[in-house]
């Protein structure tokens, strides 16, 4: 099963960085610093001060987010969040499907993936249990959630029914 990590406009939270206090200039890297899994090494940042947060650079839009909440707040469209884990089979099965859905529903929804092993606090906050769990956020708040792998057509149908937007 090919798992493609490149050429994706899906921002992925895959590296925990107690990061970027305001005294550091934001790193305009293509990868979140210190992140693994994108096929490139990241630089380690040593930070002395909290608060906890991370820099996430979205390749497609080159936006920087300070936190998941920040990402939700700044999104103009509803956000489909995929809570996954590396060794969860159905989650990896969904990788190409999410790429396809992200392209087909480009104007309708933003797709984001969260590695629950790297961001357990976010997973805890939304009471994630089974993986994959998908939550559609509207206006920054959870709007609908469902679990398990599905085909691209099924996922698109689910999203459209939920948002009552037909293409």
């Amino acid at each position: 099963m090919a798992i493609s990590l490149s050429a994706s406009s899906i921002p992925r939270l895959s590296g925990e960085n107690p990061a970027a206090s305001s005294s550091m200039s934001p790193l305009r890297l293509r990868l979140p610093a210190g992140a693994r899994g994108f096929g490139g090494g990241g630089r380690r940042i040593s930070v002395n001060s909290k608060p906890r947060g991370f820099s996430l650079v979205v390749e497609a839009k080159k936006q920087t987010y300070n936190s998941f909440d920040d990402l939700l707040a700044k999104s103009e469209k509803p956000v489909l969040v995929d809570f996954y884990a590396t060794w969860c089979g159905p989650c990896q099965f969904m990788v190409p499907i999410l790429n396809e859905v992200s392209i087909r529903l480009n104007d309708t929804i933003q797709v984001v993936k969260i590695d629950t092993e790297k961001y357990p606090s976010i997973a805890d906050k939304y009471k994630i249990e089974a993986l994959p769990t998908f939550i559609i956020f509207k206006d920054g708040k959870p709007f609908e959630r469902f679990e398990g792998a599905l085909t691209a057509d099924q996922l698109i149908q689910r999203i459209e029914d939920s948002l009552k937007v037909k293409q």
Binding site: M1, P90, T116, E129, L131, A149
Partner: protein, 103 residues
Amino acid sequence: MRKFSEQYARRSGTYFCVDKGVTSVVIKGLADHKDTLGAPLCPCRHYDDKPAEVAQGFWNCPCVPMRERKECHCMLFLTPENDFAGQDQAISFEEIKESTSNM
């Protein structure tokens, strides 16, 4: 965990996924948990406290839902009627290595 998966599929009359990549990833995840936690905790769940879950046992593979109702949300053991069920109850070490080599 590869041998276990093959034996348990046969014993339970279930089949691996048509996409053997899914099977490979789950088997790797089970093996990873067995190495780090001492038991093959289900890799398709998020846990607050993994050691506590291992001690409790509900989600140690084969988990209770699988044992009681043949429900495997990891898509490792699929009943024949499942849309994603393939024909195989076997998977080679090479297949697993190939499917998971880029992860």
